[in-house]
Amino acid sequence: MRSQNEFSYGGDATVKRPELNKEVSDKDWDNFVYNRKSLRGKHKELWQHISGCRQWIKVERDTATHEIFKTVKAHEDI
């Protein structure tokens, strides 16, 4: 069990950057940069163990109860 203080929040993990070398509409950029679902309940999000091993991880957490269901490495699917 690590202290919350060691971690830094990285936001919604389901947001995908538009692919390179493809036509990208303003709407696509808008969705990538600004628009968020910000779900109540289970939320997949990125955290960094910034005061520790500095790894990025994906966490599935309940945004109303803070219960954590699952954690995986950043490149893995949750």
Binding site: Q4, Y9, N31, V33, H66
Partner: protein, 418 residues
């Protein structure tokens, strides 16, 4: 409606104050309204009031999931100010300051508006330069701003730490003397009472479960207390905007986060203005009851919890004690949290949407309370006239798409880069 006055107070004293009218009715929903406002907080109540008062639209319902003023209206730190640099924010907020000054008379309800001034402390020469620039911008927009040097700040808040060996010495500050505080609950109750008296139905314990949208037009709203036919709906649900947006298949430039506040035990008068720490995020004022009212940063991750965690509170109070060391001797009386609409540029949204008849009022970040009257006034105009007012033009939903961001402080959802 019974007028609140000294004469009525004396008259009612003879009957032991048992015969006062109820301030507002507990309405049950009708089948159809001209306008439905979702959210019975300050902004929703103010919107309904100005719809009735300024636009003669009185067939209006306010639908509230919980109880009136029980969300952020009852959880804020009651600060009122218009110390903004950008024109859109400055003119909107200063319009609001005028409404605040007249509010107690206008609503026939004492909202205890107290223009005690706000001081933003500066802790470096560079910060003094930035404050001078913001102060000049404010004055160009007709807002009072005074740049104070270290000695002038010391005269106003001698209890702050002015010793030389501190990490963030006080260089001076920017003061808006006309800023202040008000009694937050009274604002909600005052608006509710007046709106009710003009025919607005205030419906509490009524949750929105869905919307009827046909051909891109609003036709009605479904609630836990029955379906309502309506052509115009105003969303005033900061803290739950993402939840309702999902029911409308909308994704909006807002994330829902948690902000904490706290008060100490009441003490004798020591601080007669609002003060903010310039090297972090901490603000403090003293309530009329004597409690030191404090707040600061977001908890820093998406949250609907309405209660906070300790690390952020510790961090915020460390800043407070660095600024005013006497605070360490006080006992904490209460801490609480509210859920905020954090917009991506730190400024709110008051606009129409792509759905005809659906109007959006959200994204208030740290500053919803002070905006209550101006938000209600401009939102009522936007709904009644089906077009935005000049004052809320800058608060458009499309600005994120077009790049016309209103990044007053560069503070959006991401406290970790602030």
């Amino acid at each position: 409606m019974q007028k609140y006055s000294i004469f009525n107070l004396i008259k009612n004293a003879f009957s032991g104050h048992q015969k006062w009218d109820l301030a507002w009715k507990d309405a049950t929903p009708k089948k159809e309204y001209d306008v439905v406002i979702i959210g019975g907080g300050g902004h929703g109540l103010a919107t309904a009031y100005y719809l009735a008062k300024e636009h003669n639209i009185t067939n209006v319902a306010i639908i509230e999931k919980g109880w009136l003023g029980g969300g952020n209206m009852g959880r804020n730190t009651t600060i009122i100010r218009s110390n903004y640099m950008h024109d859109d924010n400055a003119l909107f907020s200063e319009f609001g300051m005028d409404l605040w000054r007249k509010m107690s008379q206008d609503l026939n309800y004492n909202v205890m508006f107290s223009p005690r001034g706000i001081i933003n402390l500066a802790h470096s020469d560079a910060q003094m330069n930035v404050f001078a620039r913001r102060g000049n911008s404010m004055r160009l927009n007709g807002i009072d701003a005074v740049l104070l040097n270290r000695e002038e700040v010391k005269e106003i808040i001698p209890m702050a730490d002015f010793s030389d060996n501190v990490r963030f010495p006080i260089f001076g500050g920017l003061m808006q003397p006309s800023a202040g505080t008000a009694r937050h609950d009274a604002v909600a109750w005052g608006y509710a009472r007046q709106a009710d008296s003009m025919g607005v139905d205030i419906i509490q314990n009524c949750e929105v479960t869905g919307f009827d949208v046909v051909g891109g037009k609003i036709q009605g709203v479904r609630t836990s207390r029955g379906d309502i036919k309506v052509k115009k709906i105003g969303l005033c649900v900061a803290g739950s905007t993402n939840i309702l947006a999902e029911k409308l298949n909308m994704t909006i430039p807002v994330e829902t986060h948690l902000l904490q506040a706290c008060v100490t035990e009441p003490v004798k008068p020591v601080l007669d203005s609002v003060v903010t720490f310039g090297a972090g995020h901490f603000y403090i004022s003293q309530s009329d009851k004597g409690e030191m009212v404090m707040g600061g940063d977001l908890d820093g991750y998406n949250s609907y919890a309405q209660r906070g965690n300790l690390p952020t509170l510790q961090h915020v109070l460390t800043e407070g004690i660095a600024m005013m060391p006497f605070l360490s001797k006080l006992k904490m009386l209460r801490t609480w949290g509210g859920i905020m609409d954090m917009s991506m540029d730190g400024s709110p949204i008051i606009d129409k949407t792509h759905i005809e008849g659906l109007y959006l009022n959200c994204g208030w970040c740290y500053g919803g309370f002070k905006a209550t009257p101006a938000s209600g006034w401009t939102f009522a105009h936007t709904i009644a006239q089906d077009r935005v007012h000049k004052l809320n033009e800058g608060y458009s939903l499309s600005r994120f798409n077009t790049g016309h961001l209103l990044d007053e402080k560069g503070l959006g959802t991401k406290t970790w880069i602030s």
